[in-house]
């Protein structure tokens, strides 16, 4: 069953075509990877799905609803979680507050009850704390840093906090932009394990961008290959690996193949 459909999307910045006529579907409960060389338009696709960029042509469907003109914050409310390529945590807040922020849309406290705090707002905050502690902090093994300011954390941990924040959104679809970029082998393995667990335990569909081919091939159900803003192909990791266009995009034409080192 399709949860997300990208329908003939085109996007350009000042005459430069970033995406041209890209279409694909993401099925409920799968891990869907988008790969491609730098500048292929991967992040732009995520930005269009989460509503930060508006496509010039084409539509985005989520659970059958047309999202194309919906503002980003409303999409988050529908269940679209996101992590970022360059970590976008809030540096003025602790780890705990960053995670709590992810739950923003699931909370009801309005301005007045926030000012008063005692009563409803307090109760809601306590429930939230409990939920976050039990479901997220425990799951991602970040108990020890929950009260640290995020800016003081190591890179790998910041990525994990970002994931925690995205989980607090209780997403139906989780968009992850290079979740393991810059991580060492051990951190990458941890993250891969978390992603698989999220898929299983939270029943979340995951769309991820990654350069780490080993991880992509290991965990993803289907892969989309982008090159210069165009969808080259998509299919299971095995199919994609064998596809001649993909080999060409990554390794160059056959003639030149021997002279070039693999990007992968």
């Amino acid at each position: 069953m399709k949860i997300l459909s990208i329908d003939h999307i085109s996007l350009s910045f000042g005459g430069l075509n970033v995406l041209s006529d890209v279409s694909f579907d993401v099925n409920q409960g799968e891990i869907f990877a988008i790969i491609g060389p730098n500048g292929a338009g991967k992040t732009s696709i995520l930005n269009i799905i989460s509503g930060f960029y508006r496509p010039e042509k084409g539509k985005v469907f989520f659970n059958g609803n047309d999202l194309t003109h919906m503002p980003a914050d409303k999409r988050a409310a529908l269940g679209m979680g996101r992590t970022f390529q360059n970590i976008a945590l809030y540096h003025g807040m602790s780890v705990l507050d960053n995670i709590k922020l992810g739950a923003h849309y699931h909370l009801k406290t309005g301005l007045m009850s926030a000012l008063w705090y005692w009563g409803a707002a307090h109760r809601e905050e306590m429930e939230l704390r409990k939920k976050i502690e039990e479901d997220i902090i425990d799951f991602l093994e970040i108990e020890s840093i929950r009260n640290h300011p995020v800016s003081a954390l190591a890179y790998g941990l910041q990525k994990r906090v970002e994931l925690a924040r995205a989980l607090a959104m209780r997403p139906k679809v989780l968009l992850m932009d290079e979740p393991v970029a810059g991580m060492n082998a051990e951190e990458t393995e941890d993250m891969a394990r978390f992603i698989l667990d999220i898929k299983e335990e939270y029943d979340t569909t995951i769309v991820l961008i990654e350069h780490d081919m080993k991880m992509i091939m290991d965990i993803s159900d289907r892969v989309l290959v982008l090159n210069f803003g165009q969808a080259l192909t998509h299919g299971t990791p095995k199919e994609v690996q064998k596809h001649p266009d993909v080999i060409e995009a990554y390794l160059g034409k056959k003639k030149a193949k021997t002279n070039r080192t693999a990007i992968i």
């Binding site: 992040t43 930060f52 360059n86 932009d177």
Partner: protein, 294 residues
């Protein structure tokens, strides 16, 4: 009708002088991306220094001008080295507030040194008004305008052809690229602060010569903001055009509306226009909306 023409003509001349002051802002913004709230105070300090040289030390204005230029360059240099160099990489809002603090310091210092009373300049230009048909232009305004235009032209040529100008433009365009081409970006920052201070001080002398000088002269510097919002923050030509527009708008508003409000409209008008512009185009008339990335 002749009142209208009269207002437009003198507004145009004032606008040319505003353009020079706005240039003092743009030169700094272009290279460093710093919003300098102290431009008006640079202007006021320049006017006072000139006044002191010419009145207290009895120097000829021809010696006064180059001395003010040197002094302004040193002021710009010191401000950049002592304060803004430490703010590299800080959030925008902090940098804006540092320059607000700087303007407060300069304003207070000027009042301590020169007092709060109003002082008028000795005559620099021939006193005879310029008469064009029915339009009468005050000589100070007219010659001041000419001077401002000469300075603006010098800066434009400098930017376009001189090596330092090209390097500044390169820095403004892409700091990393300029750096890798062997341009010392930090030196460029210092130089643009010096240039900015020079442009503002010369503007200050011209304004001071027209209306006298007192510490609050720097408030004229606030008019830079409507000008650069009109003209685009980083465009020299935009600053010149914006300067003319603001000069004419405020003169017309002052001429026609001030009698009904007992004054004050003239100084307010550019800001009312500014609000309307921002309502319609949140990034200014010629400002570019940057593509944001995630």
């Amino acid at each position: 009708m002749d009142i209208f023409l009269q207002l437009v003509a003198s507004g145009f001349l004032v606008g040319g002088i505003y353009a020079l002051i706005a240039l003092g802002f743009v030169l700094i913004y272009k290279a460093t991306n710093i919003i300098n709230f102290a431009t008006g105070e640079f202007m006021m300090i320049g006017a006072y220094i000139f006044y002191s040289l010419v009145v207290y030390l009895k120097l000829s204005p021809f010696i006064g001008f180059p001395l003010v230029i040197i002094f302004a360059a040193i002021l710009g240099f010191l401000v950049e080295r002592l304060i803004l160099r430490h703010m590299l990489g800080q959030p925008n809002i902090s940098i804006i507030m540092v320059t607000i603090g700087l303007s407060s310091i300069l304003l207070g210092l000027a009042e301590i040194i020169w007092g709060s009373s109003f002082r008028s300049f000795p005559p620099l230009f021939p006193r005879k008004p310029i008469i064009l048909g029915e339009i009468v232009l005050r000589s100070n305004l007219f010659y001041g305008f000419l001077m401002a235009m000469v300075v603006v032209a010098v800066f434009l040529l400098l930017f376009k052809y001189a090596k330092v100008g090209v390097a500044m433009r390169a820095t403004a365009n892409d700091q990393m690229a300029a750096f890798s081409m062997g341009i010392n970006v930090k030196t460029m920052f210092t130089i643009s602060w010096a240039f900015g201070a020079i442009a503002a001080s010369l503007g200050g002398i011209i304004i001071g010569n027209i209306g006298g000088v007192q510490p609050t002269l720097g408030h004229i510097g606030l008019k830079i903001f409507p000008i650069v919002i009109l003209g685009g923050l980083d465009s020299i030509i935009g600053a010149v055009i914006g300067g003319f527009i603001v000069g004419i708008v405020e003169n017309l508003a002052g001429g026609y509306l001030d009698p009904y409000f007992h004054g004050g409209v003239k100084d307010l008008a550019p800001f009312v226009v500014l609000i309307f512009i921002l309502l319609i185009k949140p990034h200014g008339l010629f400002g570019t909306k940057e593509i944001e990335r995630l």
